[in-house]
């Protein structure tokens, strides 16, 4: 019985790592996040898609850094404003997401999640699985795998 309850709770309650992309507060399942670091020296890759800021050496591994702002259509992230890299593990490889600022970790009850409004400030709704309301703010929940898929 007790066991059942825990599983149920853990399914329902998700820890969201939240961060700002442009002015929008976004969140993703914290279990997706491998680490968050400060912008390191990146190598530009000519001919890469414009949302790829560059590649960097993460302890011997080559990680592609994607400007989440550009990818979501929220405008380029300002590299001079001390942005952060969220290194996520997606489809077996590490990818870095460049965001403007890191915010809190929020425990969100997934049952209270609401569908993303269709007109969500120009953001392509497909990248969001929904929005979550806290007392003070509205978090857009990001579908990381979708963001990093190559379909487009």
């Amino acid at each position: 019985m007790a066991d059942d309850k825990t599983t149920a709770t853990s399914k329902r309650i998700v820890e969201l790592a939240t961060f700002y992309v442009g002015d929008a507060l976004c969140g993703m399942d914290i279990l997706k996040v491998q680490e968050i670091n400060k912008l390191m020296q990146m190598t530009k890759v000519p001919q890469a898609p414009d949302y790829v800021v560059g590649i960097l050496n993460l302890r011997g591994q080559i990680v592609t850094i994607i400007d989440l702002g550009l990818k979501l259509g929220l405008g380029a992230t300002d590299l001079t404003q001390d942005p952060r890299n969220i290194i996520v593990n997606s489809a077996g490889a590490h990818v870095g997401l460049l965001v403007k600022k890191i915010s809190d970790v929020v425990s969100a009850d997934m049952e209270r999640r609401e569908l993303a409004p269709a007109n969500m400030r120009g953001i392509q709704g497909e990248f969001f699985t929904g929005v979550y309301k806290t007392d003070t703010s509205l978090i857009g929940i990001l579908n990381v795998d979708k963001v990093l898929s190559l379909e487009d």
């Binding site: 020296q41 190598t43 001919q47 890469a48 590649i55 994607i66």
Partner: protein, 976 residues
């Protein structure tokens, strides 16, 4: 079944597989030996079979035991000479050993395998009922039927044993081959009579094909081990020599010690010690790297060893007799490479056997030995491994290939015409190209060589075909020893570093600032550089990958934007001449400022030199212009993330010593991105070369010169066509008589002169060995003393007749960076021996006395030659009218009409050449009698014939004053 202990079982499996691998080749050797079998060999096979039997019995693997027992019986009889190993018997044994192998690879299910199809013939052989010499149809049929039976059986398998039986079906003989199903094929065939197995074979064969082409590894049914034969087996475990392991262990220990030292040193801030520790770690790491690499090295024999069987089976099927020669089994390659070359090699060997070697009858007709020869050879060369597959078959027919490519629409006839034989042969690698006139099932259905090439390209390999029609084909594959770490040249462009794999690197080229203008040419939109006589297309890395052009300023140590349009461009982009008047002036002013500051200086500074990396990717060779060349480094390739897969220009990335990343360039894709594919590339280069040459030829006449020296430092030249011969003499041969130098020459005495007799140049060098260049002037021989080295060259350079002009010297010319003086031998002879010329001058004066001196029209585009010829004429009293080209000459002819007594014309002239001019003149009745003398630098028979056809009276060689004047006098005399 009881399997006692996993470890023991594993040991048994490994040991047995090893035995089996040997058995196969040994059996083939026994077959070859026939009656005079090598006893040791038979013993070896016998013992192998015996130990498998023993092991299997111990492990409770009854089926394996039974089969190996049957095989052992037969071998025992061969050993005791009761049985002569015929190909049929060997075949049965081979098939049995294949079966054994497949069972051993899947021991757990081995007991359920139906081996009656193998036992039957084996036992038949053993008890003599196999009817030794001529293989009877009965057993053969039976075997065949049985084989089929097993196969069928496996299809509707009993419920619980699905997995177990399935591999069995596939297994009848996947011995060393990559394609499991391929094998069942040959087995019925040799036993049965050739005629009857036709259709059966057909069907299985097509299967072979589908599997081979799809990569031979399409069998997912958990039989990973089986599919790739011995090499694939290595995927899971690898045998490493203990001594190697020991040394690895040692190195690891050393590394740990060094780390401790390093940590200590860092703590104590002792710089000097840190350096020592750094060196130590450097050393250990390299050694460790090498040692680890060694563990991955495997002899290529692992792959080669299966080919005797492949060739044997195939040649049987095709009714050919083929010997396979294997050289260099011990050459070692990285495990991954060994595995990856398996399929391409199989394909190539099959190709050689199927398409390369002719049928015995055809070979006999051609006078070749009926036995074809295929040689597989591996050896090291320049840090790479070369594998050669050569056959003495019919070779590749470049023309046929080209024709076929044209008919398939892969090539236009024009393109084909422009291709060299080698390029034509390389067509075989084009996708969608099949060599065989009819598709045979053995090798390929038009999928093939392109796949082979792609596979090898992926390995960083390089394929080359050398083929002589009728004599055979050699395909050589160059492979890197390992894939993990590759040496690369590091370059810099746009402030980022890039790595170019050394395999692609041909050479590094730096064109100094002051030579850029001369060596880099622009033809159309293509930039090319002259490199040892060939034109090399140039690609700017910055342009291909779409970044701003930059250059590296060495004095200021920084990267600056480069705004030149082309490399040959020495000015600012906006010259005032071309400036768009509508454009705001501000911009250009701004630019001018910038040029003043940097670009103007650049013309003379080292930073404007061009750094070119000459790379080649098989067919194409091109120069990549980069900002800066750095070191060559060994790098570790790391893959790029999937978001960067669309960037075709990179093969991966690597981490440099400072922790930053450098992208690895894929030079073949860069060429493609710059639209330099192989055919276009060579086409374009050829066109460009031709255009450049034509341009040159139109500009200047070519001139053959003999180059020599008189003093040690000055270079001289005379037109080669004036030279009669060259003699080697000793200084002591020269006699000084009456103030003149002479020597004995052909029974008379030869007058000798030196360049310094007339011209103010340095005196003849004081050498013991001298050269005499003999000329024939005024019907007399004259010798010019000179010293070596002498050389005859053909050049088309500008002759400068003003700078160094003086008595005896008609001008100067730049040859190989040396200013070379052109000696006027005629003038020298005339000055030094005036008496020789008295006679003729008289003749001229006579004619001149009669009336007005005759007027001669000279048409010549080169000012130098015009002045020379004019000089000859006016000297003896003729009047001269000059014309710079054919058109002008024609006009002058009209203008002066009858006044002109003769035309002396050059052949190569702009606007209207000498032939056209002559033709035009001869068309006009008025001038049909006008004597026309054509002057040329190189009188080819062809030109002369053409000249005569249009009406040239005589041909003379430029600067051969003697003959020209004689001929002019002749015509003049006739006139009066």
């Amino acid at each position: 079944m009881d399997i006692e202990d996993d470890e023991i079982l594993q040991g048994f499996i490994e040991e047995s597989l090893e035995h089996l691998a040997d058995i196969e080749n040994d059996l083939l050797a026994i077959e070859e030996g026939g009656a005079n079998t090598d006893e040791d060999l038979v013993n070896k096979v016998f013992r192998a079979a015996h130990s498998i039997k023993g092991g299997a019995g111990f492990m409770g693997l009854t089926t394996i035991q039974e089969l190996s027992h049957a095989a052992e019986n037969v071998l025992g009889m061969i050993r005791s000479k009761k049985l002569i190993p015929t190909p049929e018997i060997i075949n049965v044994l081979l098939i049995a050993s294949d079966q054994l192998q497949s069972m051993i690879e899947d021991v757990h299910n081995s007991n359920e395998v139906d081996i009656s199809s193998h036992l039957l013939p084996l036992n038949a052989i053993a008890d003599g009922s196999f009817s030794q010499p001529p293989p009877q149809e009965a057993p053969a049929e039976e075997v065949k039927a049985k084989v089929k039976h097993t196969e069928n059986k496996s299809e509707p398998p009993p419920a619980g044993t699905v997995e177990k039986t399935k591999p069995v079906a596939a297994k009848p003989k996947p011995k060393p081959k990559p394609e499991p199903e391929a094998e069942p094929e040959p087995e019925p065939e040799p036993i049965a009579l050739p005629e009857e197995d036709e259709d059966d074979e057909q069907s299985v064969d097509s299967e072979i094909h589908s599997t081979t082409t799809q990569s031979g590894r399409s069998e997912p049914a958990g039989d990973k081990n089986k599919t790739a034969g011995p090499p694939a087996k290595a995927e899971t475990t690898l045998r490493v020599h203990v001594s190697l392991l020991d040394s690895l262990m040692n190195l690891a220990g050393e590394l740990v010690l060094s780390r401790n030292q390093l940590l200590q040193t860092i703590g104590s801030d002792d710089l000097r010690n840190a350096e020592a520790v750094g060196q130590r770690i450097d050393l250990i790491t390299s050694e460790l790297q090498e040692a680890i690499m060694l563990t991955r090295m495997q002899p290529i024999g692992n792959v080669f060893s299966k080919f005797p069987r492949v060739v044997r089976d195939l040649s049987k099927k095709l009714n050919k007799t083929i010997d396979l020669n294997i050289v260099g089994k011990d050459v070692e390659l990285d495990k991954t490479i060994i595995e990856a070359i398996n399929d391409p090699l199989t394909h190539l060997v099959r190709n050689s056997v199927d398409h390369g070697i002719e049928k015995p009858a055809d070979r006999k007709k051609l006078g070749k030995s009926e036995i074809g020869l295929v040689v597989l050879k591996a050896y090291h060369e320049a840090g790479q491994v070369v594998i050669e597959i050569s056959d003495d078959g019919k070779g590749l027919d470049g023309e046929a290939l080209a024709a076929s490519a044209i008919s398939k629409g892969l090539l236009t006839p024009e393109q084909a015409q422009a291709m060299s034989d080698k390029e034509k042969i390389n067509l075989i690698f084009l996708p969608g190209f099949s060599t065989a006139k009819e598709v045979t099932d053995v090798s390929g259905r038009g999928v093939g060589m392109d796949v082979v090439k792609t596979n090898l390209d992926q390995l960083g390999g390089h394929v080359d075909i050398i083929s002589e029609k009728g004599a055979g084909t050699t395909i050589s594959i160059k492979l890197p020893l390992t894939l993990a770490i590759i040496p690369c040249q590091i370059i810099e462009t746009g402030g980022e570093r890039y790595a170019i794999p050394q395999v692609n690197l041909e050479e590094l080229l730096r064109i100094p600032a002051n030579q850029v203008k001369n060596r880099v040419e622009r033809v159309g939109d293509a930039e090319v550089v002259r490199l040892r006589g060939t034109l090399l297309p140039l690609i700017r890395l910055a342009d291909v990958i779409g970044i701003e052009r930059t250059y590296f300023d060495h004095t200021e140590e920084e990267i600056k934007p480069d705004r030149r349009e082309s490399n040959a461009d020495r000015r600012g982009k906006e010259s005032p001449l071309f400036r768009n008047p509508n454009e705001p002036d501000k911009k250009s002013q701004q630019k001018d400022e910038m040029y003043n500051r940097s670009v103007l200086d650049r013309r003379y500074s080292a930073s404007s030199a061009l750094n070119i990396v000459v790379v080649s990717t098989g067919a194409i060779k091109y120069g990549l212009i980069v900002d800066r060349l750095q070191d060559s480094e060994e790098i570790v390739i790391k893959p790029l993330g999937r978001h960067l897969q669309q960037c075709k220009g990179y093969a991966g990335a690597t981490i440099m010593g400072d922790g930053r990343i450098a992208l690895i360039l894929d030079v073949s894709n860069l060429a493609r991105m710059a639209r330099l594919n192989s055919i276009d590339g060579s086409d374009r280069a050829a066109e460009v070369a031709k255009a450049a040459e034509d341009a040159l030829r139109a500009q200047k006449d070519r001139q053959s010169l003999l180059i020599f020296k008189s003093s040690k430092t000055e270079y001289f030249a005379v037109p080669l066509n004036q030279v009669e011969r060259i003699e080697k003499i000793k200084r002591s041969d020269i006699e000084e008589l009456g103030g003149k130098r002479v020597m004995k020459y052909r029974g008379g005495s030869l007058s000798l002169i030196c360049v310094d007799d007339l011209a103010t140049v340095l005196p003849l060098a004081d050498h013991e060995d001298l050269l005499v260049i003999v000329f024939n002037i005024a019907k007399r021989a004259i010798g010019l003393l000179a010293i070596g080295p002498i050389d005859a060259i053909e050049i088309s350079a500008d002759i400068d007749d003003t700078t160094i002009s003086q008595p005896g010297i008609m001008g100067s010319i730049i040859i190989e960076q040396h200013t070379t003086m052109l000696v006027n031998v005629f003038e020298m002879a005339q000055t030094l021996f005036p008496q020789w010329f008295v006679e003729r001058e008289k003749a001229v004066v006579e004619t001149a006395d009669e009336s007005e001196p005759p007027t001669i029209l000279i048409a010549e585009d080169s000012k130098f030659f015009r002045n020379q010829v004019k000089g000859y004429m006016t000297e003896v009293g003729y009047k001269v009218i000059e014309a710079e080209d054919g058109v002008e000459a024609w006009n002058k002819l009209h203008e002066y009409g009858d006044l002109i007594a003769m035309l002396v014309t050059d052949i190569e002239m702009p606007n209207m050449n000498g032939f056209d001019l002559t033709h035009k003149i001869r068309q006009d009745d008025k001038y049909s009698k006008l004597p026309i003398i054509a002057l040329t630098t190189l009188a080819s028979a062809e030109d002369m014939a053409r000249g005569q056809a249009v009406g040239v009276n005589e041909y003379h060689i430029k600067l051969d004053k003697e003959r020209l004047m004689v001929s002019v006098h002749d015509y003049m005399k006739r006139r009066y």
